[in-house]
């Protein structure tokens, strides 16, 4: 009798362990999901604006290019207003200066030019943008000098 029941008990025990494991896994998944949703909720407003900002930046670039040629006062004010809005959204420009060290975290090298020293910015061809807390929305495109 005892011999007969033991395997059944084992099987039940085994199944119980499996189910316990699954429950633990499901609970862990749920717990982690909750945490992630909380985290993502905090980032959500930022993420939502990133998509829009990324699409608007080229328009700002064009306005600025136009200003270089037109030198129009009204346009200058418009560009200023545009940047003010971005500033209010917590965005700042990444505008490497000539001679700055290249930094791949916030810049993208698009051309290497001959220069006096290595890894120095020769020209910023496109301004980058980032959130004040560090998240880069668009990397600055730069030409870098190499000896």
């Amino acid at each position: 009798m005892a011999k007969k029941t033991k395997p059944v008990g084992d099987k039940v025990h085994e199944e119980l362990e499996t189910v316990k494991g699954m429950l633990a896994r499901a609970l862990a998944d749920y717990d982690n999901l909750s945490k992630r949703i909380e985290r993502e909720r905090q980032d959500l407003s930022k993420i939502a604006s990133v998509g829009l900002v990324v699409r608007l930046l080229p328009v700002l670039d064009n306005l600025e290019s136009a200003q270089v040629h037109l030198k129009d006062q009204g346009l200058a004010i418009t560009v200023g207003e545009f940047k003010k809005v971005l500033d209010e959204e917590g965005l700042t420009e990444i505008k490497p200066k000539v001679g700055d060290e290249f930094n791949e975290e916030i810049m993208e090298a698009i051309e290497v030019v001959k220069g006096v020293s290595d890894n120095k910015i020769a020209e910023t061809v496109l301004t980058g943008w980032k959130f004040t807390d560090g998240m880069v929305v668009r990397h600055a495109k730069v030409k870098v000098s190499n000896k």
């Binding site: 499996t18 189910v19 494991g21 699954m22 896994r25 499901a26 862990a28 998944d29 749920y30 982690n32 999901l33 945490k35 992630r36 993420i47 064009n62 290019s65 136009a66 270089v68 040629h69 290249f102 791949e104 975290e105 810049m107 993208e108 090298a109 698009i110 051309e111 290497v112 890894n119 061809v125 496109l126 990397h139 495109k141 030409k143 870098v144 190499n146």
Partner: protein, 632 residues
């Protein structure tokens, strides 16, 4: 045991996914938020992915990409020779004649480079899951030989991952589509990625997936498509303006970005406008790039590239000893397969629509994650949670199906709602449980009916009947009705609310879609009628309560409006607008009684809370008792 992640270690891009609550989830990179990571590594400063790519041009001798082309290959290998000509970094004859990469005098094996990518993906996965990841399933092309598979496995081990299994990319894609559950099928996997093209024919039987044949072109992919489009834009601009945009790095970069964007947009649109003002200068004057690109034009440009994929497909079928029409399913993998022309070409060749519902950039990683889930014991039948295929509803006044559990709800689930009676002194309610997407009960399937009686007599809308829909994990639905005043309860158990055949579900959904408009109209009319009836009841009660306190003229006016509403709402062909107009008219007049009797702040005494008012009626109760009894 921790989670086993699934990794698609690609030539150009890599992707990682994991099973979460029984479902595959693609993990986005912490640094970029994107779901794929470029397979680019700068090993000295340890820059991996996008950050490595951004400094690639500056540091081209130290930045490794396409390392997969070298994986497990000998230095003398033809593919290695070809890669040497293609890449700016140095490939050398390493240990045992294998191809190594030399950077700043130090040798790196392709495994070490791949390990850096794997490490980054592992880290991203850990950040996402919130626990340590120690094991992975990694995919490789079906044509990889033993040495290449071994090297891939080593890469995983270097990255600190126990490689539970190396699986073929096409097999992973088939898993992502659940093809392993099919009986006996022959599947073609068409994989057009960033830099390579692979075609594989798989045979599935008894849950075993076997690669019958594979073929491809190791140097054909999305990058070639981009290049063709860029060349076209540059040459058109030159023709028109006499300026070569290739000579201006910044301008060229902008053209490349614009071309890629246009390519993506043309997957959905028939024409895009490329607008890049101030792209360059000529004699001190600014020049603008404005060009229209039609889908037809773009397709013409890339036609040759698409056709290049057909020959390998034919060879592959020949090796598998099959004809195109022998293939039961075609699966699309790789970002380029989003292009409608590619889909069309594949469709024409095989004579059937290819599967493309799973994101083609992620499908391989998803399949790897599923395999990981199976190995980790996470994917088991017992854990698979069912969903309700169709909406479960209760019939309310006017034959309206009021949803309790919407379709696609994961079970087990439970829903409680309180309803009331439709007529005065009603002592029993009949509960009709239906299933289906149509707004009217009669158009849906009735699952069960039962009666709750013994409700103490009370005016309409006063009794509170609590109805509970509870569906357990095995799909058994228990519907309970409880009179809150007496605590009297009855219930019904319904099995088979989940277990519809796929065809049945599909038919019912299609029907609902087909009748959507007329159904909504019908439901609106009924709602309007119910509102009208409720107001009539309120008005009649108000008149009775008011007695002589209200001016006879006002009373007469109300009576007249009541008659009008009854008339309009009673007619079968009255429009919703007519009913609503008459109801509003009555409501406006009625407020005069309220003002006279209780002052402005009080509502007419007979008016029930908003919820009940909505569905209340005694208009139809005489002719259709069953349907009129349960009201929201």
């Amino acid at each position: 045991m921790g989670k086993i992640i699934g990794i698609d270690l690609g030539t150009t891009n890599s992707c990682v996914a994991v099973m979460e609550a029984g479902r595959p989830l693609v993990i986005s990179a912490v640094d970029t938020g994107r779901n794929t990571t470029p397979s680019v590594v700068e090993p000295v400063k340890n820059l991996v992915g996008d950050v490595g790519k951004r400094q690639m041009i500056l540091n081209s001798k130290n930045t490794v990409y396409s390392a997969k082309r070298l994986m497990g290959r000998r230095f003398s290998d033809k593919e290695v020779k070809r890669t040497i000509e293609m890449v700016p970094y140095k490939i050398v004859d390493g240990k045992n004649g294998m191809a190594d990469i030399e950077i700043e005098g130090k040798n790196y094996t392709p495994q070490e480079i791949a390990a850096r990518v794997l490490m980054k993906l592992k880290k991203d996965a850990e950040a996402h899951i919130g626990e340590k990841v120690e094991a992975a399933v990694i995919t490789v092309p079906a044509y990889f030989d033993d040495a290449q598979r071994q090297a891939t496995k080593q890469a995983g081990e270097i990255a600190g991952l126990k490689v539970e299994r190396i699986i073929n990319e096409p097999t992973a894609a088939a898993l992502a589509y659940g093809m392993d559950k099919k009986k006996a099928e022959k599947i073609a996997v068409y994989d057009l990625g960033g830099g390579t093209f692979d075609i594989s024919v798989l045979e599935i039987g008894d849950g075993v997936i076997e690669v019958k044949a594979t073929n491809g072109d190791t140097h054909l992919g999305g990058d070639d498509f981009d290049a063709v489009i860029v060349d076209y834009i540059v040459s058109e601009f030159k023709k028109e303006n006499g300026v070569d945009l290739k000579a201006d790095t910044q301008a060229y970069q902008r053209v490349r970005d614009a071309a890629e964007k246009a390519k993506i947009e043309l997957s959905a649109a028939n024409e895009v406008e490329l607008n890049q003002p101030y792209i360059t200068q000529k004699d001190g004057q600014p020049m603008h790039l404005t060009m229209k690109l039609t889908r037809a034009k773009m397709e013409g440009l890339v036609e040759e590239l698409i056709q290049k994929t057909i020959k390998p497909v034919e060879s592959c079928l020949k090796d598998a000893k099959l004809d195109a029409h022998d293939i039961d399913e075609v699966i699309m993998v790789g970002g380029m397969t989003r292009m409608p022309k590619v889909v069309e070409t594949v469709k024409n060749f095989f004579g059937k629509d290819p599967n493309q519902s799973v994101n083609p950039d992620e499908v391989v990683a998803v399949g790897a994650a599923i395999q990981g889930g199976v190995l980790g014991g996470e994917v088991k039948d017992i854990l698979l949670l069912d969903v309700t295929p169709l909406t479960l509803a209760i019939e309310t006044l006017g034959g309206v199906a009021t949803p309790m559990i919407p379709r696609n709800t994961t079970v087990p689930t439970s829903k409680t709602e309180v309803f009331s009676t439709a007529s005065d002194n009603q002592t029993q309610v009949q509960i009709v449980v239906t299933q289906g997407e149509r707004p009217m009960s009669a158009d849906n399937k009735v699952l069960g009916t039962f009666t709750l009686d013994g409700i103490p007599p009370a005016p309409r809308g006063v009794p509170q009947v609590e109805v509970i829909f509870d569906m357990d994990a095995s799909g058994i639905l228990t519907v309970t009705a409880k009179d809150k005043a007496t605590g009297k309860t009855t219930n019904i158990k319904i099995t088979g609310a989940v277990g519809l055949s796929d065809e049945e579900v599909k038919r019912m959904q299609e029907e609902a879609e087909k009748h959507k408009e007329e159904d909504e109209k019908k439901a609106d009319t009924i709602k309007a009628k119910n509102n009208a009836d409720a107001l009539v009841a309120t008005a009649e009660k108000a008149l009775k309560d008011a007695g002589d306190k209200v001016d006879a003229k006002v009373k007469e006016q109300v009576e007249e409006k009541v008659k009008k509403v009854k008339e309009v709402a009673g007619k079968d062909d009255s429009s919703t607008d007519d009913i609503e107009a008459a109801t509003k008219d009555l409501s406006d007049t009625l407020s005069q009684i309220g003002q006279v009797m209780y002052g402005k702040q009080d509502q007419p005494k007979g008016e029930e809370p908003k919820e009940e008012k909505k569905e209340d009626s005694d208009k139809k109760k005489d002719e259709k008792v069953e349907e009129g009894e349960v009201v929201e």
